[in-house]
Symmetry: none
Subunit: 215 residues, 4 copies
């Protein structure tokens, strides 16, 4: 979100013009940080639906225009807040590779489950998921900066396992990763059950059962 100084504006002074884009170099870093911090606090306190730009501005000690100047929506604010504030690239930074695929995946999914049980993480992440479900443009951004990164880590670990002959050569690694994250995501977002280790362990086992060489 925030500002990408891409080459999309053809002339600027032309006829179409429209919204005047601000100069990112003059941006007040202190205000920006205060806004992101306030967003995370407030979404945790009142939830996404009752999160308002006015409240963020007031909490951050900032004019509303300073938010509207730099972000197109409150979801975009949250996305910046989340990616900068704590979620450093998705559920985990990297899937460990001890050689034991099952153990590695169990460990990561357990850690992820724990993370999603932390309200400070859960509230903004859920807010972003909800916003993304309603706005394709935001969803793209959200996926590119959070979800896809996480998926890629699973794919990488699975590829390593495939190279080691621990899983069949014909498996679709992307699909396999989705089989790990999909049930997890659904259970979490729709609150279809507790995100405990029993569930994640069983999920890992069930998925791996379909990936192992037929011997």
């Amino acid at each position: 979100m925030s500002q990408r100084p891409g080459p999309e504006q053809p002339e600027d002074g032309g006829t179409a013009a429209g919204r005047r884009q601000p100069d990112p170099t003059r941006r007040n870093a202190r205000s920006r940080a205060a806004i992101l911090m306030a967003s995370l606090q407030l979404v945790g306190e009142v939830g996404y639906a009752r999160l308002t730009i006015e409240a963020i501005a007031a909490r951050a000690g900032v004019g509303k225009q300073t938010i509207y100047r730099w972000w197109p929506s409150k979801a975009a604010v949250l996305l910046d807040a989340f990616t900068e504030g704590g979620g450093e690239g998705g559920p985990e930074a990297a899937v460990p590779d001890t050689g034991d695929l099952a153990a590695d995946l169990r460990a990561v999914l357990r850690a992820t489950a724990d993370e999603f049980s932390d309200p400070a993480f859960e509230a903004p992440y859920r807010a972003l998921a909800v916003a993304g479900a309603q706005d394709a443009e935001l969803a793209r951004e959200f996926d590119a900066r959070l979800t896809d990164v996480g998926t890629e880590l699973y794919v990488a670990r699975l590829r390593s396992a495939r190279d080691a002959g621990q899983i069949r050569g014909d498996v679709d690694l992307r699909l396999a990763a989705d089989m790990l994250t999909g049930p997890f995501f659904q259970r979490w977002l729709a609150r279809r059950g507790p995100l405990d280790h029993a569930f994640t362990d069983a999920l890992v086992d069930a998925v791996l059962a379909g990936l192992r060489p037929r011997d």
Copy 2:
């Protein structure tokens, strides 16, 4: 949703009173139908975020109070509208049982994918999923009336297959069903890829690979 005239009001005629519950027998069926119809139309036209009670009332030719009297939220209206308007019990009415588990699941998931590609179905369903993600109470209702029903159909079909010895006896049928619906749900809600038959077929195959007896 709508109104369950349960025995929760202890005194009613007391001092504090509170919410007067209306008499369902005097309800105007024509208004109710118009409200549900208008909800479905509007959510398809403007999406859930910009769906307003005022617009529903205006479109239905109904007073706002008639909506507030019978439903606690616009999501509840939509839920009634959806379960009565078209989604006759979730994605499908029943999983066929031809004896060929893979073929049956492929058929059902293909049909479901087609259904979720129909905007008239997709818009209100997505709206409900989004509302459910933000409101646990609503999510419960939503699951009870839509998702759980669907899941149960998969579980039933899988049980039949297990009884026929086509899948191992130790598999967790609920988890197996989640492995079918989870990736599907995630791909759909977060728009992580096209909901085509290639995807659903591959998903069915991948899940079944983990369920088959080891022989």
Copy 3:
């Protein structure tokens, strides 16, 4: 201002339509009174330039929309407030007619000067004069409801004096009235000097000097 239920809207449901006009019979009298009262208080406290609709609404315990629904501008609110609150038809209700024209005019102008020295009267009246100077539409309304009424009273008294032969038959009564009010108005609005009895008495004498029969 407020609402004139004239027959100007031809069809309403037609193509032009536009602003939906509210139903004056359903108007909340208590809210209306509170708004007018608050307007008078606030214009006295902070002046017209810093008088805001928001502050009026807050002071009156009323939603902003209730003001915007019934009045087109804060000046219109003030005009209603002023004509109903205290200014009972302009500077004075009637010019006395004791037979002594000079004495009568002196008395009225002295009373008017006193009135314009009362901040509770002065603040809203000045606000209206200022608003009228900037908005011809409002000025028309203001004149019709306040200034013209006052002028007419002078004209009536002067006509009585003319009929009694106390002033020449060829004098333009309207102009004569303007010669009384014009210098007064200018001195007051532009603060060109004190509005004391010395001034008003001198003004009356100077004007009458030009009206008397030449003998």
Copy 4:
């Protein structure tokens, strides 16, 4: 208005300091002229109420601070703009003295009426009158630089006539001048009627009727 580098700052280099007064010798004359020009243009286009400092700055191609540095308010800008741009000392430069008082006054008032019928003159003058009505400090400045000058010219001409025995010796010349300008001002500012020659001629005659010696 603008800046009077008077000796009001006691210490300047003190601790509290406060308002830094800028150095008038380093002032950019081109910017100053552009600001005054833009003010006059804009007040004619949108009126005083919707005249904004930002718009003046933008039209003049000038930073906002350059306006705030040299003028305390938009009214002060307008006052400078007006006194420099065209109204060179009020309605007229001098009242002619042909010996015929009535003819001289009629000529001046006719010219003044014509001037006040010119939008390029009327718009900023009305703006200043309005601003002055709301701000006593500004009104003082306005009077000193425009109105008083005009009044003094009338007084001078009347004094000349009095010395020539054309009007009585006991008349209050200041009041007489106000009887000419007051009705004119009121009619113009409150738009109580057309500012045509018929009006001004009648006004001159009516006033002079009260000034002539009783013979």
